[in-house]
């Protein structure tokens, strides 16, 4: 049967156009006087919470483990980025890029150190050990005042987290994780979630892929941490406590474990909520809790379940409906590919 489908370059082109369109719209909105300062801040916060949620989703949703130490990796990245930026050894543009990469790498190193012992465990045990490691990182930062400023915190961090920077990081994070998931590495990660013994009996090195997922997840958490530092301009260790890990996990669970779209929607909903309820600020935590309870009752798999959005798939669906009638026109329009 003839089916309408898009060639890979066309798919990439569509997505690239969309990404650039969002970038331009976002830039116009945040540069102009359209929004209040608070609203602008929320947009940037949404950006790094998306990175945090999407990266946690890699180890929680796709790999099927339950790490509770995401804030720890975020802290490592935040402090690495902040310290590097405060040194100001490079011109601004280069400094941002190098700082972000350093932050990611530092967090990834911690990811390896923590992941190798922690991933020998499963379920609750893994949750507790990662929780412990997360807290250890925070305590460590607290007790190294000469480097990290200790409990007093680190101030006067250059504010590098503009919309542009956050947006690019977010896109890179989503793309890299999406690409990984659509490859042999991603299939290995998913198969570990579904059945670890069967995965091993297929000759897949499960330990390697578990650590890999964990490290990539930590890497992006580190970048998000640096963005957080560059956004606030001041860091205190208590920002990265257990509640931060829980907040990120809440976004992932609310959006749907194992759905990147879910993590993005979850991050947007939960982060922009305070803005929508300025008058109800006092009841914010109650509304959070209620929202979670309602979602868990009526849609336990999260808002999006495991559904992942694909614009190309939607276009193809429409295309197929059309192709029964006006095949030629549709093909010409989409740069189509006849017989695939």
């Amino acid at each position: 049967m003839k089916q309408f489908s898009l060639r890979m370059p066309v798919r990439y082109l569509i997505n690239a156009c969309l990404i650039i369109a969002f970038l331009i719209i976002g830039n116009i909105i945040t540069q102009g006087e359209l929004l209040s300062r608070a609203q602008n801040n929320i947009i940037i916060q949404v950006g790094f919470f998306i990175i945090l949620a999407v990266s946690l989703n890699l180890s929680a949703g796709y790999l099927g483990q339950l790490p509770l130490g995401h804030a720890g990796f975020m802290a490592v990245g935040a402090y690495t980025g902040a310290i590097f930026w405060r040194m100001g050894v490079l011109p601004d543009g280069a400094s941002v890029v190098v700082g972000l990469i350093l932050a990611g790498l530092a967090a990834a190193v911690f990811g390896i150190i923590i992941g190798i012992p922690a991933l020998r465990l499963k379920g609750d045990y893994l949750a507790i050990i990662t929780l412990g490691f997360g807290e250890m990182i925070r305590v460590l930062i607290n007790n190294l005042p000469s480097i990290t400023g200790g409990a007093q915190g680190l101030a006067q961090i250059p504010r590098h987290s503009t919309f542009l920077v956050v947006y690019i990081c977010m896109v890179v994070c989503c793309l890299v994780i999406h690409f990984i998931m659509k490859s042999r590495h991603g299939r290995a990660i998913l198969s570990i979630r579904d059945n670890e013994i069967a995965t091993e009996s297929c000759g897949v090195n499960t330990t390697y892929y578990k650590v890999m997922a964990f490290v990539v997840s930590a890497f992006f958490a580190g970048i998000a941490g640096a963005l957080y530092a560059g956004f606030l301009g001041i860091l205190v260790p208590s920002d990265f406590d257990f509640m931060m890990s829980i907040n990120i996990l809440m976004i992932v669970v609310l959006g749907g474990m194992g759905s990147m779209l879910g993590s993005i929607v979850g991050a947007i909903v939960l982060t922009s909520m305070p803005l929508l309820m300025v008058d109800l600020a006092r009841y914010r935590m109650i509304v959070y809790a209620l929202l979670l309870i309602i979602v868990m009752i009526f849609k336990p798999s999260g808002l999006m379940g495991t559904y992942d959005f694909s614009l190309s798939a939607i276009i193809e669906k429409i295309g197929r409906r059309f192709s029964s009638g006006k095949v030629e026109k549709e093909k010409a329009q989409k740069g189509g590919d006849g017989n695939a």
């Binding site: 690409f179 042999r184 290995a188 998913l190 579904d194 059945n195 069967a198 009996s201 000759g203 194992g258």
Partner: protein
């Protein structure tokens, strides 16, 4: 990745014998000896059966062969190679693949993706190639996809490629497990109760398929089964296990007439299934 020009079915050197050899293999769980003094030799294209009453240790032997458990005693050779320091992944790469008694598919992945996990080690691109979508990625993925569909076509399952594995009917799930195991390019395939839950016509079809796989891929097949019609119908050699010990080994005819086996497993009714 294998060269695409080479034939779909890998050539196997059949003179190298035997494909699997176990010498005095044994395992203890705490103080309990689950399997003791297990010796078997399987020739390169042999279909061999392992039977015995429930709890005799048949699945434990499969778990020993695939290193889910490390044996306490004895040694095991795969195509002449000692498997002493190998783990589950290592023995798979050395040429052993299996299915499970209680089906273990990747239920939330599609049928095609299940087979692609089996082809994991056939693809050789690295993480770097994945992230930057290098040509090595596209080439390996395309070849692997074609190959996965070829493997699925053994059981006429190409049309189900995009279904979620968990949504398949029971019989297809069993077949998919076999396909996934075959995709890892084994020298010997272990089937743990492949006919469980199948009616007699499905079992007949399965028997044909097992023979077909053996002839197509030139591999050895070692299977656990309670269905005596299947075991006696296709196996060239049969081993009988009771209380963790081999009590008999031989051709199906020998086994059917062995008084020890009749007493321990087959029963005096002769050849009928005992454990439904």
């Amino acid at each position: 990745m294998r060269d695409p020009k080479k034939p779909f079915i890998p050539e196997r050197d059949l003179d190298k014998s035997p494909v699997l050899e176990c010498v005095e293999l044994g395992i203890d769980f705490g103080g309990l000896t689950a399997v003791d003094d297990f010796n078997i030799t399987i020739a390169p294209t042999e279909i061999c059966g392992l039977i015995g009453p429930n709890g005799a240790g048949k699945t434990t032997i499969f778990n020993l062969l695939t290193k889910v458990y490390q044996p306490s005693r004895g040694s095991m050779y795969l195509e002449g190679k000692d498997t002493k320091n190998m783990n589950t992944i290592g023995v798979n790469k050395a040429g052993i693949a299996r299915t499970f008694q209680n089906i273990r598919l990747f239920n939330r992945m599609t049928v095609l993706e299940n087979v692609l996990v089996g082809l994991h080690n056939e693809m050789d691109y690295k993480l770097f190639g994945t992230i930057f979508r290098l040509p090595s990625y596209w080439r390996a993925e395309r070849i692997a996809r074609e190959r996965a569909l070829e493997y699925l076509s053994i059981f006429d399952m190409q049309d189900m490629a995009d279904y979620k594995a968990g949504s398949l009917p029971y019989g297809s799930q069993r077949r998919l497990e076999i396909v996934r195991a075959l995709a890892t390019n084994p020298a010997i395939l272990l089937l743990d109760e492949p006919a469980a839950g199948m009616n007699s016509s499905e079992t007949e079809e399965l028997m044909e398929n097992i023979r077909k796989i053996r002839d197509m891929f030139n591999i050895a097949i070692f299977l656990i089964e309670h269905d005596m019609k299947l075991v006696m119908g296709i196996c060239e050699g049969v081993a009988v296990l009771n209380y963790g010990k081999l009590i008999a080994k031989g051709t199906p005819e020998d086994i059917q007439n062995d008084p020890q086996v009749i007493e321990a497993y087959l029963g005096t009714g002769g050849g009928e299934r005992e454990n439904a």
